[in-house]
Amino acid sequence: MTIQEIMERTGLKDYSLAKAYINDAVHLLQSTSADTVKVSYSNITVASDGDDNQYDLPADLISLKSISVKDTQDSKYKKVKRLVNSPTVAEDTSPST
């Protein structure tokens, strides 16, 4: 469906507003169901500092489907589980021990 057809069906005259509403609608749609699924990768590093096991989420993320870690033995990404309870450490000043 074209933007023009959507504008005609809704009676909207303002093109910019129509485009903004369409973006919002697609955003909401991607939030409740998956229309376009993307994949991104991050390097896992060996910790040398207290927050080195923290990784950024993708900037354009709307809804997370899964997180996987590469099994280097058979070169496959395997889904990892979320911790139910956080470890008791609030701040780690010596991650190597």
Partner: protein
């Protein structure tokens, strides 16, 4: 070498960050000569440690995102991978959704227009229609067909 990562790695969220942990069954060790020995006061147990191995592209995120929202071609006429993103969309650009989801977008916009007018009853009506059409579109992907034998008798 990372092995059985589905059993040995775990994550948790800390705000916008993902915190990665590795589960190991070990005790504190030290190296004496060329031998790795367990320290006498240390006991063997499950421990969560920081990932102890660098893995290039080791962490994989699968997620939904806004991607190719507006395209040049009609998404109903060609496959998704052949669609060209409209970088400067015009009124003739297509919304990259199937027919049912495009109709859901129409309902969403009608809901927003009614909200602006202050007509919340109509807004709720159109939002319900929006979610109904998304639901229809989802269930179209997961049709379950159940067949029953037709009774030979018209009157039971």
């Amino acid at each position: 070498m990372s092995v059985d990562t589905d059993r040995t790695y775990f994550f948790e969220f800390k705000g916008k960050k993902v915190v990665l942990w590795k589960l190991v069954e070990s005790a504190s060790t030290d190296t004496v000569g060329s031998y790795r020995v367990r320290l006498p006061d240390s006991y063997y147990k499950n421990q969560l440690i920081y990932p102890d191995e660098a893995i290039t592209n080791g962490l994989r995120f699968e997620y939904t995102a806004l991607s190719k929202v507006f395209v040049e071609e009609d998404p109903q006429s060609t496959v998704d991978s052949s669609l060209t993103e409209a970088t400067s969309p015009s009124e003739e650009s297509h919304v990259n959704l199937n027919r049912m989801r495009s109709l859901a977008v129409v309902d969403y916009i009608k809901a927003q227009i009614n909200e602006t007018k202050g007509d919340f009853q109509m807004k709720e009506y159109y939002m319900r229609e929006f979610y109904k059409k998304i639901g229809d579109s989802e269930s179209n992907m997961r049709n379950i067909s159940i067949n029953f034998p037709v009774s030979p008798f018209s009157v039971k």
